[in-house]
Structures are given as C-alpha cells and as structure tokens.
C-alpha cells in the first residue's frame, strides 16, 4: 500500500490522513470479520436453540413436540448422580488425555526437530494415529489388549499390571487404558504444533546460549520452553475441548463400561438424545458443560506467558 505523496495542499493531506485513520480503525474489524462470521453463524443459532431447548419439557416418548418446562431440566440435572459421576470422570479423562499428549508429544517434537530426511518423514508419519478413524483404532486396540492373544496384554501381564482378562474388564484399569489410547491418538497434533513453534526459534539463540556455557537442560529450560510454552497451553486447551466431548473411543472400546466406569459426558449426551429420546435434557447438559468448559479455559489461559 503505497503512501500517496500528493499535492502540498494541507486540506487534501488532512483528508487523506483522516481517510487513512478511518481505514486503520476499520482494518481490524475487516480482518476478523470473515472468521467471526463463520464462527458465529454456525454457533450462535445453535447456542440459542440449545438454551431455548434446555428450558423445554420434551420427552419424545410422551410428547411429540416440546412444551415450556422452565428450569425442569436443570433441576433434574442437579439431582442426577450418574451425570455428575460421568462429569467427574470426564475431567479425569480430559486432563489425563492432555497430559499424555504433552508427555508424549513434546519430547517427540524435540527429537524430530532436526534437518535429516528421517526426521522430516517421521514428522509426517507420526500423524497416523490421529488420522486413522476411531472405529478402526478401537478394534485394533481391542485386539492388542485381548485377554487371550493380545500382544500388549501379554506385556502388561508380565509387568503385573493386568490379570488373566483384558484390562478392559476392570473399571479403573479400563479408564486408564483408554485415557492412554486417547492421549496417544491426539499426540501427533501436539507434535506438529510444537514442531511449528520450535522451527521459529532462531538457531543463533541456541548457539549464543551454548557459547555462554549453558548445558542441554538449561538451554531447554531457558530457550526452548519459553518459546513453546504458549503453544503447549493453547494446543492443550484445544485438544482438551476435543477430548471432553469424546464419544467414539470409549463407546467402541468398552461401551461406557464395565458398568459405568468409562461413561463420560459425551456418551451420556449421546444416549440422552438418541436412545432415551430426551433432547431437552441433553441440551441442558450441554449448556452446563459449555459454561464449565469456558470457565476452565479462562483459568488455564491465565497461565500464558505474556511477552
């Protein structure tokens, strides 16, 4: 955008300046407009609908159309012990998943952050768990954990972690197992996100630190970590939100069992809508979850590093 050096007329110059000032003021709104439009268009109306629906009384088996219910769903929600249990499990699931993703993803990103052909190809292949459909992975892992012939089950048995049956038979171990699998599946995205951040650290900063006598760990702590901290946090939140509403993985691997040990909120809501035919109740659940997730995200965002 070339700055027009026009005539020396002051009036024209100040006109240009105020036009430019106006344009400058409008610029941010223009830049964010498309994204905001898209995000809102598909979200605002459904959000409104969800709130409206949550205030209706609609049990498809009793009434084909909803009638006004006020806070009836929220009161029911409040008393629903199995829902709060699922809710508690979902937080464990979400935090566990994100931790596994960080724990696996960051070191792998550090390892793959090199120039060789091997690391470049590895960075592409690492995507595989993330892009393979849940349904296929679910069956694959079930086989690996099979009590009879599963190879991983064999290893777990040797380590004493598993008994005669698959880990999926035990409530606590089943939850841990699928948290691991869920984290493993999301880890590739953490890897490429962190890699992207690592690639923006100029090499000479490392060299300067080395010259200053800093060892590998101090280089990591003082150079690398600050640079990737915000990425870790943001991607952690993103993956956390995705994990929070997980449905496919626990459903395919354990159907929410044994008993309700792996029933997380995603499963509860799916059942509420499609099997129990209580869409209003499910809407109330999603409104409550939305608020809680929002609050949690804001709290986590406070941990961001400001430069």
């Amino acid at each position: 955008m070339a700055i027009a050096i026009g005539s020396s007329d002051t009036a024209q110059r100040s006109n240009e300046r105020s036009t430019r000032a106006n344009l400058d003021r409008m610029l941010p709104y223009g830049l964010i407009a498309p994204a905001v439009f898209v995000a809102f268009a598909i979200a605002v109306v459904p959000m409104g609908y969800a709130i409206w629906l949550s205030l209706q009384d609609w049990y498809l088996l009793r009434r084909p159309t909803p009638i006004w219910g006020g806070l009836i769903n929220y009161i029911q929600l409040f008393h629903d012990a199995s829902l709060w249990a699922a809710f508690g499990r979902t937080w464990i699931w979400t935090i566990g998943t994100v931790f596994v993703e960080l724990f696996l993803g960051v070191p792998i990103a550090l390892l793959f952050n090199r120039e060789s052909a091997v690391s470049r190809t590895a960075s592409a292949l690492i995507l595989l768990p993330w892009v393979t459909p849940f349904v296929v992975l679910g069956f694959g892992w079930r086989f690996l954990l099979d009590g009879d012939v599963g190879p991983i089950q064999g290893i777990l048995k040797m380590l004493g972690i598993s008994g005669t049956g698959s880990v999926l038979n035990d409530p606590v171990r089943a939850l841990i197992a699928i948290i691991m699998i869920s984290g493993w599946k999301g880890m590739p995205f953490m890897v490429i996100a962190v890699l992207a951040a690592l690639k923006s650290i100029p090499k000479d900063i490392y060299e300067a630190a080395e010259v200053d006598g800093a060892g590998a760990f101090r280089r990591f702590y003082h150079v690398t970590l600050p640079a990737i901290w915000n990425t870790m946090l943001t991607v952690g939140i993103v993956l956390g939100i995705l994990a929070f509403y997980s449905f496919d993985l626990p459903w395919i691997m354990t159907r929410g069992g044994p008993q309700a040990a792996t029933t997380i909120v995603g499963i509860t809501m799916y059942k509420a809508v499609f099997q129990e035919l209580r869409p209003a109740y499910a809407a109330a659940i999603s409104v409550v979850m939305l608020v809680l997730l929002f609050v949690a995200s804001i709290l986590v965002l406070r941990l961001r590093r400001k430069d």
Partner: protein
C-alpha cells in the same frame, strides 16, 4: 572432529526410527491385518504367513466408496484452504492490532468451540433443510469450517504472538501498510504453523461423522466416514475389511502431509533478530 557430529546424527536418526516404530505399532498392526485373511487376524499369531488383497478389492468394488473418497477430499481441502485464509487475518488482528472488544471477540470465538456436535445438530439440520441445501457438499463445507475456525484463529494468534514485532516495525517504516507487513513479513515466518493449522482443519473435516450423517443421505454425496459405516454388517463382520477401510482413510492425509512436509521446515528466521 567431523565424525562425532555425524555419529550423533546417525544415532538420533536411529532413535527417531525406534520411537516412531514403537509409537506406530498399533497402526502397523492395522495395516498388516488389512492384508491378512480374516481367520488369521484373530488367531494366526503376530507374524503373518498368508497375505491377501481381497479386503482392498472388496472395498474398491464397494459401490460409492471411490465417490466418497472424492467427496471427502473435496470437502477436506476446501475446508483447510478457506479456514486458513480466514483465520490468518483474524489471528493477525487479534495479535497485533488493538481495538475495542478484542479480548471479548477472542474469547467468544474460542467459546463457539465448546458446544458439542450433538447439541449443534438439530438446529443446524433444520436451517440447512430450510435453505434447501440438504445433501450438498456445500452445506457440509460450511459446517466443517466452523469446526476448525476457532481453533485455527487461536493457534495462529499464538504463533504470531511469538514473532517479534520489530520485524514488522521495520517493514512499516519502509512504507508497507499493515496488510503488506502481514503478508510479506509475518506469513513466511509462520508457514509451518499455517501448515499445521491447515492440516488440523483438514483432518477434522476428513474424519467428521456425526454432522455428515445428519446432513447427507444420498449416496453420491456421502463422505468416507459414512461409507466406512457400510462395512459394519452386524451379521457378517470382517475384521480385515474394516482394517483395510481404515488404512484407506488414513492414507490420503499422510500422503498430503508428506507432500507438504518441506513447508513444515521453512520459516527459520534467517539472519536472526537480535542485534
């Protein structure tokens, strides 16, 4: 002296391969299973002895599978391109420009991500039916855009935050406008991030099932996850076929990413900043 760094490189390469192998073991099992006959998969032990391409043949012969593949590619690539195109300016604005409501807008954008698909489903379907766009890829593209947009904006904003402002100051002084600065200075530096975000949008769209199921029922507009569901017959289930289906679904993304992997490497600041 030269040998030590080379040894270190080779050693790290080997380590990379080992870690890759361990991490991808379950995937390897899926791919190997897809070329074994069904009876071998469950009871034949780990080392395959018999091979068959029967499962892949069955899938390719499956009516509509190739159409579904094409549809998923169209939707995925369009979503990835549009998402990044819209998200970059928005992320730039949120990162660099100060304006009224900046933080509020950022938070609300993130908030739109926090509604589950199940809650969004019904009103979305109603609206799309009203405008007459049921069973179209257009409706699906638009819906998927909103899946990845908030996350794309947030992530790119984070990366842009990490680019030192001095670089743009220099460009602005030189006579570039804001947009010029964005395009010529910031964009090349965050290229890996753009690739990452584009990949994210693509993968999210590629594997999306619930919304696709609700919006599309005609065979010629089905996407891959829908087509894959057809492989699950309750009465004659074939593990091999499911594994083959999964491999076919995973493969295009990997191929696309392999093609773009050089982009992931770019973006190194040449010449440094300080000083």
């Amino acid at each position: 002296m030269k040998r030590l760094p080379m040894l270190r490189d080779v050693g790290l390469d080997v380590l990379t391969l080992c870690i890759l192998f361990i991490v991808l073991l379950p995937i390897l099992w899926v791919v190997v299973a897809s070329v074994r006959p069904d009876s071998d998969i469950a009871s034949g032990g780990w080392i395959p002895q018999r091979f068959t391409i029967q499962h892949y043949q069955e899938i390719m012969a499956f009516p509509g599978f190739l159409v579904a593949l094409k549809n998923s590619l169209i939707v995925g690539i369009t979503v990835a391109v549009i998402t990044t195109t819209m998200a970059v300016p928005a992320a730039y604005a949120l990162s660099r420009l100060s304006f009224r409501g900046r933080n509020f807008v950022a938070l609300v954008i993130l908030g739109t991500q926090m509604l589950p698909s199940v809650a969004v489903l019904v009103p979305l379907v109603v609206i799309i039916r009203q405008i007459g766009l049921s069973n179209t890829l257009t409706a699906l593209i638009f819906t998927h855009l909103s899946l990845g947009m908030p996350i794309a904006v947030w992530m790119l904003r984070g990366y842009i935050d990490g680019v030192p402002r001095e670089l743009e100051e220099a460009a602005l002084i030189d006579g570039c406008g804001r947009i010029g600065a964005m395009v010529r200075v910031v964009l090349p530096l965050i290229r890996p991030a753009i690739v990452a975000v584009g990949t994210f949008a693509f993968v999210l769209s590629w594997g999306e099932f619930i919304l696709a199921l609700a919006l599309i029922s005609k065979a010629d507009t089905k996407t891959l996850p829908l087509a894959l569901q057809g492989l699950f017959d309750p009465y004659s289930f074939s593990w091999g076929r499911v594994m083959a289906g999964g491999t076919i679904i995973a493969l295009p993304t990997i191929i696309l990413f392999l093609v773009f992997r050089k982009q992931l490497v770019g973006g190194l600041l040449a010449g440094g900043v300080k000083g």
